[in-house]
């Protein structure tokens, strides 16, 4: 054993400072046979739980501490001049020094040695973060002293003064007198037995920190003053070879290119050295210090003794695995008398829960169901009582009540829908008895884990909900969960590229070429993905770049608030987790969602769901315009068997609907034709990776459509399996099958189901399963057939309760779309919940006959509104050249009585304040009026004009270029905007010169510990909020005083009005929407010459015919499919509807780059019929539409056809199956990567050299993820593909071809 202990170790959780993951450090310590290891990350304990768990696995005693910056006392350096003005908001790129003013701050390390010490450490970290500026945690001597006070002698907290402390600075100045003064200061604040001097030698040259001479001086001073001296190595990386990573991190943190003067390290000695290497260092230091023979041994012995004092026990000291629920009187305070509150204990909790549930039975169930419900309730309450989770359920119910009281829509998701308690408490809206959901999947008496209930709320009001929860539970019991953003390939490329000083353009294009994979797979992806190789990224010169990129893999780079997790606990929460302020000023735990679970804190997921906001908006709009209040949660108003809703779903007109709008889902609902709410549950479950992977979909559809008889494994299973025509789809069915066949309880059956997920579990369940099944009289044939099914399906089924919880908003959104299409789509456009760009939703609205009303400063709001319009245009007069609105086909709701008014919020660059002013000050009579009262910025005013926002005021409408003389055009208005801008600037200057400058905003409270306020994380975090201030309320909306000097609209200039094409271009650039006509329309002449098939005609084309389609890219997906290959799904929109095309591997080589990086596409493919209403294209080629258009203009149609006939070279189409079975044989329960044999000469080290199959071109070197069940998956499935997100970029759609005059 190696007795040396590293007491000062930074892991990657010291953001952009440490280079190694905690588990790597622990491994390294274990290799060196050390028995104890400390983790002292900078500014926080972010990695503590992971570290402690790694230590428990590795048999190492953990020590936890933190490395904090301290405000300088002024002893060792001149006090830095206070920075003038507020700190900069945006980081300065390019040389501005990013370390705090006055250079690098001194730092100390604080170690926690006990439960009380850990609590004090957590509170010290919280207090440090919550004072001063967010993201710049600097502690003070007083604060450290405050948190050390009240503890026992120096065992609970130990303060290490190292080379980067002020003591170290004094030593670097070679001022022993100052060193003494620094020590005296610390001794006054901290118990002297808890004050230790830490010396470090990295053997750098000279006398500064890190040199042996410096360490020797510190050791000398400390020994003379009678302090313990410990030796550490200030570790930043596990192994010597990781040192360059630290250089990259240093330059990334400071936003400067690599250069000696920006880096902290001078050599590669700061790694986890062995005890022997450290003993050599100790010798060298003591020899330099002249401390005599035994000094080195004494130094190592004190290091060991401090380590022994500080080693913590994960369970006793940190409380790992304990459960801390909020106190009962907080949860139920309003509902209990004061007498009861005193007796708050678990039996009381059970009683309160029982009372509340029983009271709800009468409300939720018909009288004839009461008996069943009561029995089920008694069962569940029994389990909850035994596990002691009453308080948990009451807490969740309390939160849901809070949300509902605010008038915010809320719905439970997840397996919680299977519990009748949740239904009765109002947490879930799905009746588990009616839909056959079992509780055991959610909460099992055999499992101790806290159940998981997620609550979906309206996304637009999520922060309001958080505020309310925080108000209720206070900052002592409640905090947000954080989330560590770690390096993936794109960020790593950007940061490494910037550090190396590569040109920004080159970095950007390299980063965007990659799909969103892990950084460590960068070079593997280069070998595997043909489009990357084609772009020249495989060149050897980039090898250094990618080797550095891979080193950053998974290192934390940024902490952010988790999108949904809220921690609720008792008043000791802050003893167990430090908190800091989130960007919006919420207190946020330093632990992420996995950590808090290990710590036994109740984490409630409150998810903001945009669909809930969209539905709330739709309901509001219906109420506003039609005066009808609808409650979609009420089954009398929105029955769950509404024929109109199902007719629409069956016609696959489900764009915008929750969960069933993706191309794959539209294909599935087209085939499946759901008829009931249960069918929707099945539909959602089928379209999941699991069922798709294990091929449940086709057998089910065959039986469902009556093409084959449902088959049941045994008549006893029919009640369970009849709902899905004999196919196992749900976890619940697996549970029930096991229970029926073996006669065990549902809870045991669920344990068995979970065990089936991995290989060892599977074999042990097998030996348990067969004897029991045979003993119950089933034949061997039945038993083995059932086993086969269970084995294949168990790990891949979907939880029915989860699907049922999803089905509710799915159905509700479909119901709204079927009955109030305009209001619903207005909600979808406002809150943008789905996967498609808004322009596709707008196109969908047109197909329902809904009028699309243009932007209008006198009518548009900050959201999309609906307006009643006349249906009279049927047949429509061609007003202003707008296309007529045809009646939608049958089975599709008719929305012609309504129009959707575009929203101001989509005008690019418009601020919230400008929208508020425009809405408050209207109506406007003229542009001058708008300019003066709404005070838009000049670019926004110009965009409003260009997008047609003022057309209604000036009667501009027709795009006919030649008009009556003297009419005002948009071009005239643009000229006037510039005149107004000149005028305003001139008058502003005059006004400013006359009046004194306004006072700056009041400084935020400093939160210094001097004022004896109570420590309240809620208000302190809020004070650090960096969110923008809300727009000032509009107080004076005075009418424009028509002063003579305001430039009025002069004579119309006679400029022609913008043409139709110019308008669409302006709309796309400004709104991101093509309002007046579809983008593809402008290519129509060429497209008809090419004989393109339009979306609406696809259904009538013959299957297997080769055809061409064209359109705007609206979605690309790479979903998992059974063969383990990468498949790219592409959805185009051509103005008549969506077209789905599939690129298999053979077509990806030459065309993948075009698919991922271009926006307007022509695709060649073979038509496949997928169902009665479904067609899809198997793509064989893909070209950029604008490029073809350019050729067409030059060379005519023959040139285009010639261009399309050429296949881009360099890609073979030859594939080979590779050695998959080796991976499939693997005993691992996790997916294993099967490596293909390598290229070139001889097998590379570490790769199996059997089956050296031929590999060539295309996807030659293809890895495949092999799941324990034998299912294969492409490593590139289910990750965001390369290129930019199709949702974000429609503003660029406009082609830049010459000739479209502008």
């Amino acid at each position: 054993m190696d007795p040396f202990v590293h007491l000062h170790v930074a892991s990657g959780y010291s953001l952009k400072y440490g280079a190694s993951h905690p588990h790597r450090l622990v491994e390294r310590a274990a290799e060196a046979e050390m028995d104890t290891l400390a983790l002292t990350d900078r500014d926080g304990v972010y990695g503590a739980v992971r570290f402690v768990k790694a230590c428990m696995r590795g048999g190492i005693r953990p020590i936890l501490g933190v490395d904090l910056a301290v405000e300088p006392s002024g002893l060792t350096r001149r006090p830095s001049p206070a920075r003038p003005g507020p700190s900069r908001v945006a980081p300065a790129r390019g040389g501005s020094y990013r370390d705090p003013a006055g250079g690098v701050l001194p730092r100390v390390t604080v170690l926690a040695g006990s439960k009380a010490g850990w609590a004090a450490l957590c509170r010290l970290v919280s207090a440090t973060h919550l004072r001063g500026e967010r993201g710049v945690p600097v502690t003070t001597l007083d604060l450290v002293g405050e948190h050390c006070a009240g503890l026992g002698s120096g065992h609970d907290l130990v303060v290490l003064l190292g080379p980067s402390s002020e003591l170290g600075e004094a030593a670097a100045l070679r001022r022993d007198d100052l060193a003494g003064a620094v020590l005296r200061r610390w001794r006054e604040a901290v118990d002297p037995t808890g004050l230790v001097v830490e010396v470090v030698s990295h053997r750098v040259a000279g006398h500064g920190p890190g040199s042996s001479a410096h360490a020797a001086r510190m050791a000398g001073v400390a020994t003379a003053a009678g302090y313990e001296v410990v030796l550490t190595n200030a570790v930043r990386y596990a192994g010597r070879a990781d040192a360059p990573t630290v250089d990259i991190l240093d330059s990334v943190r400071r936003l400067v290119p690599l250069d000696v003067r920006h880096l902290d390290r001078e050599n590669a000695e700061g790694f986890m050295k062995s005890g022997k290497e450290m003993a050599d260092i100790a010798d060298e230091i003591c020899r330099f210090a002249g401390l005599g023979e035994r000094a080195a041994d004494r130094m190592l012995a004190s290091t060991r003794s401090v380590a022994d004092r500080c080693a913590v026990d994960p369970r006793a000291d940190l409380g790992l695995g304990e459960v801390h629920l909020p106190e009962l009187d907080i949860v139920g305070a309003g509902r209990m008398g004061p007498g009861e509150r005193a007796a708050a204990d678990s039996s009381l909790g059970d009683a309160v829960l029982r009372e509340r549930c029983e009271a709800a039975i009468g409300r939720r169930y018909r009288p004839d169901q009461h008996a069943i419900a009561a029995r089920r309730l008694a069962d569940e309450l029994g389990v909850i009582g035994r596990l002691g989770y009453s308080s948990y359920f009451l807490t969740v119910a309390d939160v849901v009540d809070l949300v509902r009281e605010m008038g915010v829509r809320a719905a439970a998701r997840g397996s919680g829908a299977g519990s009748v308690v949740n239904y009765l408490l109002g947490i879930s809206g799905v009746d588990p008895i009616r839909y056959g959901l079992v509780m055991e999947r959610f909460l099992s008496p055999l499992r101790q884990a806290l159940p998981d209930i997620d609550i979906d709320v309206e996304s637009a009001r999520r922060t309001e909900v958080y505020e309310r929860i925080l108000d209720r539970y206070s900052g002592d019991r409640c905090a947000c969960v954080s989330m560590m953003d770690t390096y993936r390939v794109r960020h790593a490329i950007r940061d490494v590229g910037a550090a190396l000083g590569m040109p920004p353009g080159e970095i950007d294009s390299i980063a965007k070429a990659f799909p969103h994979i892990r950084a460590r797979d960068a070079r593997t992806a280069l070998r595997e993905l043909p489009e990357l190789r084609a772009s020249g990224l495989g060149e050897e010169r980039l090898d250094v770049l990618f080797s550095l990129v891979e080193r950053l893999d998974g290192l934390p780079r940024h902490i952010a608030v988790h999108p949904c997790g809220v921690l609720l606990s008792d008043a000791t929460l802050l003893d167990r987790t430090p908190v800091e302020a989130s960007y919006l000023g919420f207190p946020m735990s330093q632990f992420d969602k996995d950590d808090v679970e290990d710590l036994g804190l109740l984490k409630l997921d409150v998810l903001g769901i945009r669909m809930q906001s969209a539905m709330a908006h739709a309901i509001d709009e219906v109420k506003r315009v039609d005066g009808v209040e609808i409650d979609i949660d009420d089954e009398d108003q929105a029955p769950r068997d509404d024929p109109a809703t199902f007719a629409m779903i069956q016609a696959a007109k489900t764009l915008g609907c929750f969960q069933i709008e993706s191309p794959g889902q539209r294909e599935l609902v087209g085939k499946f034709a759901p008829e009931t709410f249960d069918d929707i549950i099945i539909d959602i479950s089928l379209f999941r990776p699991g069922p798709v992977k294990s091929d449940m979909v086709n057998p089910f559809l065959r039986a469902r459509q009556g093409w084959s008889e449902p088959e049941y494994l045994h008549p006893d299973l029919e009640p369970t399996l009849s709902q899905t025509c004999g196919v196992v789809v749900f976890h619940e069915q697996v549970i029930e099958m096991i229970a029926v066949l073996t006669g065990c309880s549902l809870a045991e059956a669920d344990e068995a189901r979970r065990a089936l997920g991995d290989r060892e579990g599977k074999s042990s369940i097998r030996t348990w399963f067969f004897p029991r099944v045979l003993a119950r009289g089933y034949s061997t044939a039945v038993a083995s057939r059932c086993w086969e099914v269970l084995e294949a399906f168990a790990s891949f089924g979907f939880c029915k309760a989860h699907a049922a919880a999803f089905a509710l908003p799915t159905y509700q959104s479909a119901w709204l779309k079927a009955h109030h299409p305009a209001a619903f789509l207005a909600g979808v456009l406002t809150h943008d919940p789905g996967m498609y760009p808004k322009r596709l939703i707008l196109d969908d609205a047109r197909q329902f006959g809904i009028a699309v009303l243009p932007l209008d400063v006198n009518a548009s709001d900050d959201v999309y509104r609906i307006e009643k319009v006349g249906v009279l245009d049927e047949p429509p007069p061609e007003v202003f050249g707008r296309a007529p609105r045809p009646a939608p086909p049958s089975g599709v709701p008719d929305g012609r009585a309504y129009g959707i008014r575009l929203s101001l919020a989509d005008v690019s660059g418009i601020s919230e304040a400008e929208i508020v002013r425009i809405m408050a000050a209207r109506p406007f009579a003229s542009l001058t009026d708008l300019w003066q009262r709404a005070r838009p910025s000049r670019p926004v005013a110009e965009r409003l004009v260009l997008a047609g926002g003022l057309d209604s005021i000036y009667g501009i409408g027709s795009p006919v270029p030649v008009r009556r003389r003297g009419t005002v055009t948009r071009r005239d208005l643009l000229l006037q905007v510039s005149e107004l801008d000149r005028w305003s600037r001139a008058t502003d200057r005059a006004v400013r010169a006359a009046s004194p400058r306004r006072k700056a905003r009041a400084a935020p409270p400093t939160g210094s510990p001097a004022d004896a306020r109570r420590f309240d994380p809620r208000t302190m975090a809020a004070a650090q909020s960096q969110a923008g201030l809300p727009p000032e309320p509009v107080t004076a909306v005075q009418l424009a005083l028509d002063l003579d000097d305001v430039p009025a609209l002069s004579e119309p200039s006679g400029l022609p009005e913008m043409s139709g094409a110019e308008r669409v271009r302006a709309e796309l650039e400004i709104l991101g929407l093509d309002v007046s006509s579809h983008v593809v329309d402008f290519y129509a002449p060429m497209l008809s010459a090419l004989d393109i098939t339009w979306s609406r005609d696809l259904l009538h084309r013959r299957s297997r015919s080769e055809l061409l389609v064209a359109g705007v890219k609206v979605a690309t997906q790479t979903p998992p499919i059974r063969s383990g290959r990468r498949v790219v799904f592409l959805t185009l929109d051509d103005g008549t509807g969506p077209v789905d095309a599939t690129f298999f591997e053979d077509a990806q080589g030459p065309y993948a780059a075009t698919v991922f990086h271009s926006w307007l596409l022509v695709v060649r493919g073979e038509l496949r019929r997928t169902g009665p209403k479904g067609v899809s294209l198997r793509a064989t080629g893909c070209w950029e539409l604008p490029a073809l258009h350019a050729i067409w203009r030059r060379d005519g149609i023959a040139g285009v056809q010639a261009a399309m006939a050429v296949v881009p070279g360099g890609f073979g189409a030859d594939h080979s199956e590779t050695a998959l079975h080796a991976a499939a044989e693997s005993k691992s329960s996790r997916p294993v990567i099967a490596k293909p044999p390598s290229f070139g000469s001889g097998p590379a080290a570490g790769e199996p050299d059997d089956e050296a199959g031929p590999t060539a071109g295309g996807m030659g070197r293809r890895r495949v993820l092999v799941h324990p069940s034998g299912f294969k998956q492409s490593p590139y499935s289910d990750i965001r593909p390369a290129g930019e997100d199709p949702k974000t970029v429609p503003r660029r759609l406009w082609h830049r071809s010459p000739g479209s005059a502008g």
Partner: protein, 118 residues
């Protein structure tokens, strides 16, 4: 101080109780180390190596000297370019004494005389 960068032969041994270069052969002359004045470890600017320079196309791909081990996870080691430096006082019979910086490159396993201080 005069700078050199010359390969030398070194015999290691104990000098005043530490393991250090005990003798070295420089320009065919043998120097014996009497004392160690300082001892440190330094790293070069690895990002200025030719292997990194080709990133920018600064050095022609063909003539660029490839670092020893061009690929694989061990790449980091040769990016380090760590050198251990001893500042020693050495003497040569009949000539007198001098102070030299003697460095050892861990990647190449090579001793060099870097400078003559005195």
């Amino acid at each position: 101080m005069r700078r050199y960068d010359e390969v030398i032969d070194v015999r290691r041994g104990l000098v005043s109780g530490q393991e250090a270069p005990a003798q070295f052969l420089w320009r065919d002359r043998l120097w014996v180390v009497r004392d160690i004045i300082a001892h440190w470890v330094e790293t070069g600017a690895w990002w200025e190596q030719p292997g990194v320079g080709v990133l920018f196309g600064e050095v022609g791909g063909a003539e660029a000297p490839r670092p020893a081990a061009a690929s694989g996870p061990d790449r980091g080691a040769d990016l380090l370019g760590e050198k251990e430096v001893w500042r020693v006082e050495a003497t040569r019979p009949r000539t007198g004494a001098g102070v030299f910086d003697v460095s050892f490159d861990w990647a190449l396993g090579q001793w060099r005389l870097v400078c003559c201080v005195d």
